[in-house]
C-alpha cells in the first residue's frame, strides 16, 4: 500500500500504478499494487479496459533513457528481420484461413512481432522456449525451420511433427523450440521442468515460457512461479499481455491488473516493459536472461501490447473499443520499427527493402513447397503413440 499510496500522491487523479526501481542488490523489482477494484457491479458492463494501454506502459524506458539505443545496428537489423518474417507468415496464414484454403485453428500474432523477436535475439539455440497456441512469433523468433512449420500447419509429412500436431502445437526441438500447448497455462510447469534439467546439467542455458495475460489467472501459473523461485531455476516467464483473454479485457478478470507486481508473492524479480518497443523489450529480456545464466533465478516479465486482431484467425473483433484499437494500431510494431530504423539511419532504405523482398520470397517459397509435400501415410496413424508402435495394434 505504501508504494501505491505514494504514487497516488504524485499523480493525483490517475489510476494507482506501481513504481519501479532497482533494489539494493541491483535486481529490478516492482512493488505491489494493492489498489482495490471498483466495487463489483452486477450490471451489464461496458467492455473497455479500466486503464488504456498507454497508461499501462508509461513506466518503461523513457524516450530519453540512454540505454534505449543500446542495441548495435546489427542487432537492430536482426530484430527487424525476425519481426518482418513473423509478420509475413502471420499475414499469409490469416489470408489462407480466411480464404478457406487452410482449415485450421490459428491465432494471429500481429502486435507481438517485436516482443517475440526481442526474446529470440537474446537466446542461443541451446536455450529453450515453451509457447502456447499463439505460437508463430515464438517459433520463428527461436529459429525454427520455416519450411517445417509451414508444412506442419498444412498437415504434411515433412512438417516439424509429421503433420500430426498442427498449428496449435508447433515445435522444433532441434532449435530448442520445445513445445506449444493449447491449454491455457499448461506449458508453464513444463518450462519449469526444463529449468530443472538445465540446473541439474550445470549448464548456463535458460528456458523461456510465454503465455497470455489471461493465463495468470490459472492455477498452473501460480504453482510454477513458486516452484521456479524456490529452486532458483533459470526460467523466464514472459507474459504477453495483450490486454484481452478472448472476449474479456484484463480489468474484468484480474483483481489486480498489475501483473508484474504479482511476482513479489513469489519473491521473484520482475519488470514491465512496452512490448511495442522491440528495443526496450530486448534490453529487459537481456537483463532477465543474464540473471538466469548467472544462476540467480527466474524473472517474470510483463510485456504490454494490445491485441491488434481477433482472438483467432476467424473470430469476431467488433467488441474491442475502436479508439483504443486505433491508438494501438498506430504503434503496430513492424511498420513503427521500420520507420524508426530508417529515421535513425540504422540501415539504408534499400537494404531494408531488400530484406522485405527477400522475406516475401522465402515465405512464398515455403507455402508453395508445403502444398506440394505429401500427407502422412496411413501407417503414421499409429506411430508415435508409444515408442513401440506394435503395442497399439488392434486397439
Amino acid at each position: 500500500m505504501v508504494a501505491s499510496a505514494r504514487a497516488r500522491e504524485r499523480y493525483p487523479g490517475r489510476p494507482a500504478r506501481t513504481s519501479r526501481q532497482r533494489g539494493a542488490d541491483g535486481h529490478r523489482t516492482i512493488d505491489c499494487d494493492t489498489t482495490t477494484l471498483e466495487s463489483y457491479e452486477p450490471t451489464v458492463r461496458a467492455y473497455a479496459p479500466q486503464h488504456s494501454w498507454e497508461q499501462m506502459v508509461t513506466n518503461t524506458l523513457s524516450e530519453t533513457d540512454p540505454t534505449r539505443n543500446a542495441l548495435s545496428p546489427a542487432d537492430m537489423l536482426r530484430l527487424y528481420r525476425s519481426m518482418r518474417l513473423i509478420a509475413a507468415v502471420d499475414q499469409r496464414i490469416n489470408q489462407e484461413v480466411r480464404a478457406g484454403t487452410l482449415n485450421a485453428a490459428t491465432y494471429p500474432v500481429r502486435g507481438l512481432e517485436g516482443s517475440c523477436a526481442a526474446v529470440g535475439l537474446n537466446l542461443r539455440p541451446v536455450d529453450q522456449l515453451v509457447s502456447t497456441y499463439r505460437n508463430l512469433g515464438d517459433a520463428l523468433a527461436k529459429g525454427s525451420s520455416l519450411d517445417a512449420l509451414v508444412a506442419e500447419i498444412y498437415g504434411r509429412l515433412t512438417g516439424a511433427s509429421k503433420g500430426k500436431g498442427g498449428a496449435m502445437h508447433l515445435q522444433d526441438q532441434s532449435v530448442g523450440f520445445v513445445t506449444s500447448t493449447g491449454i491455457v497455462g499448461s506449458g508453464i510447469p513444463i518450462a519449469v521442468g526444463l529449468g530443472v534439467a538445465a540446473q541439474l546439467d550445470g549448464s548456463d542455458r535458460v528456458v523461456v515460457t510465454t503465455f497470455g495475460d489471461g493465463a495468470t489467472s490459472i492455477g498452473a501459473f501460480h504453482e510454477s512461479m513458486n516452484l521456479a523461485s524456490l529452486w532458483r531455476l533459470p526460467v523466464i516467464f514472459v507474459c504477453q499481455n495483450n490486454q484481452w483473454g478472448e472476449h474479456t479485457p484484463i480489468a474484468e478478470y484480474a483483481a489486480s491488473t498489475d501483473l508484474a507486481g504479482r511476482a513479489a508473492a513469489y519473491a521473484m524479480a520482475s519488470a514491465r516493459v512496452d512490448g511495442f518497443d522491440p528495443i526496450a523489450t530486448a534490453l529487459e529480456v537481456r537483463v532477465a536472461v543474464e540473471r538466469a545464466r548467472r544462476g540467480e533465478g527466474p524473472t517474470f516479465l510483463e510485456v504490454v501490447t494490445y491485441r491488434l486482431t481477433g482472438h483467432s484467425g476467424v473470430s469476431d473483433y467488433s467488441y474491442v473499443p475502436k479508439d483504443a484499437l486505433a491508438r494501438a494500431l498506430e504503434r503496430d510494431p513492424v511498420p513503427t520499427f521500420r520507420r524508426r530504423m530508417v529515421e535513425q539511419g540504422v540501415a539504408p532504405v534499400a537494404e531494408i527493402e531488400e530484406i522485405d523482398s527477400q522475406i516475401a520470397a522465402e515465405v512464398d517459397a515455403a507455402f508453395s513447397k508445403a502444398l506440394e509435400e505429401p500427407f502422412p501415410p496411413p501407417s503414421e496413424r499409429f506411430t508415435d503413440v508409444f515408442a513401440d508402435e506394435r503395442l497399439v495394434q488392434g486397439l
Binding site: P42, N103, A104, F382
Partner: protein, 321 residues
C-alpha cells in the same frame, strides 16, 4: 433453430422460471455471449450478477459453481472444451460427484456443467470425447444430445435435476444441427434413450455426434439390404438399459458406436452388459466402434480418427454375413 439457439432458449427459460439459476464461465456474458454464442443475451436480460464471466480458471469456475449450489443456487458452469475438464477434474469428481454421499444426503449439488467436444482441426488437445471418465465416477449424470430439440429438452432437465450433471455439447453440432425446436419450456427426462430409426437386423447403440454417423450408415445399409436400428442413448448415466436390451433381444446383433476412444470406453461397458444379459440370444459378439487408440491427429493431415459410416456398414455386414 440451431442447437446453439436451442441451448440458449433452454437457459433463458430456466433463468426466467427460477431465479436461482445462474451461469458461470469464461466469456459467458455479453457482448461475447459465450465463444459459441450459446449464452448470448442472457447477461443483458438477467444481469451480470446471474451471468458471470470469469477469469480463465476452471478449478475456480467449477468449485464456485459447487459452492453456489450448496448455497441454494442451480448453477450452470461452463468448461469451454471437454479436454479442459482435466484441469477441473478434482472439483468435478472428488467434490461435485461425492458431496451428497459424503454428507449422508445433507449436501446435494444441483449443478450442471456444460462442456463441448472440439474438432480435430484444433489438434490433439481440443478433440477428445471423455465421457467414460465421468460414467466411471459414481455420483454424476452424463448427458450427450444429438439434435437441437433434444439439446434443449435435456439441458432443461439437467438444470432442474437435483444431482450434478455433465452436459456435453459438440462444436460441429452446435452450428450444424438445426431443427424445429419447441418454443417455450420443455424437458426430456434424463435416462430415456430414443430409437432414432427402427430396424430388425442389427441394433446400433450410440449417442452424441455419432448418432448421425449411425443414421448415415443405416441409409447405406438399407440400400445393401441390411436393416439397422439406431438407438440414441442421450443419457449415459443413468443409462436406459431397457431400451438397449429390448432392441438387441430382437435384432440379436449389436454395434456400439461412439467418438470416444474405443479402448476402455463407454462401448466396453455397453458391450459387456449386453453379453451378460443376452448371452444366449446373441448371434454374434457385440461389435465395438470408437476412436482409434491415438491422440487426435491434426485434421489437415488427413489421418483418420473417428469411426465413419463406412466402418458401421462394414461392421453390420460382418455381423450379418
Amino acid at each position: 433453430m440451431t442447437m446453439a439457439a436451442a441451448l440458449n432458449s433452454a437457459l433463458d427459460h430456466a433463468m426466467e422460471l427460477d431465479d436461482k439459476v445462474i451461469i458461470i464461465g469464461e466469456d459467458v456474458a455479453d457482448p461475447a455471449g459465450g465463444v459459441l454464442k450459446v449464452t448470448k443475451g442472457l447477461s443483458t436480460k438477467y444481469g451480470t450478477g446471474r451471468v458471470r464471466a470469469t477469469p480463465i480458471a476452471e478449478q475456480a469456475i467449477v468449485g464456485a459453481a459447487i459452492g453456489a449450489a450448496l448455497g441454494g443456487y442451480r448453477p450452470v458452469a461452463e468448461v469451454m472444451y471437454m479436454d479442459f475438464t482435466a484441469v477441473a477434474l478434482d472439483q468435478i469428481v472428488n467434490h461435485a460427484a461425492k458431496l451428497r454421499y459424503m454428507s449422508g444426503g445433507a449436501s446435494p449439488v444441483p449443478l450442471t456443467i456444460r462442456t463441448c467436444i472440439g474438432m480435430q482441426r484444433f489438434g490433439a488437445q481440443h478433440a477428445q470425447s471423455l465421457e467414460a471418465w465421468f460414467m466411471h465416477t459414481p455420483g454424476i449424470k452424463v448427458v450427450m444430445p444429438s439434435t437441437a430439440t433434444e439439446a434443449k429438452g435435456l439441458l432443461a432437465s439437467c438444470i432442474a435435476d437435483d444431482d450434478p450433471c455433465l452436459f456435453v455439447e459438440n462444436f460441429a453440432m452446435v452450428f450444424s444441427q438445426k431443427g424445429d425446436v419447441p418454443v417455450g419450456e420443455f424437458r426430456i427426462p434424463l435416462g430415456e434413450a430414443a430409437v432414432k430409426r427402427a430396424g430388425s437386423d442389427v441394433s446400433v447403440i450410440t449417442y452424441g455426434a455419432a448418432v448421425h454417423t449411425a443414421l448415415e450408415a443405416a441409409e447405406q445399409a438399407a440400400a445393401a439390404g441390411i436393416s439397422l436400428e439406431v438407438i440414441d442413448l442421450r443419457t449415459l448415466m443413468p443409462l436406459d438399459w431397457d431400451t438397449v436390451l429390448q432392441s438387441v433381444s430382437l435384432t440379436r446383433r449389436a454395434i456400439v458406436l461412439h467418438d470416444a476412444t474405443m479402448f476402455c470406453g463407454p462401448g466396453a461397458e455397453i458391450a459387456a452388459r449386453i453379453h451378460e444379459e443376452l448371452f444366449e440370444e446373441l448371434l454374434a459378439p457385440v461389435k465395438r466402434l470408437g476412436a482409434a487408440y491415438t491422440p487426435a491427429p491434426y485434421a489437415p493431415s488427413g489421418l483418420p480418427f473417428l469411426p465413419t459410416a463406412a466402418d458401421v456398414l462394414a461392421g453390420a455386414k460382418q455381423l450379418t454375413g
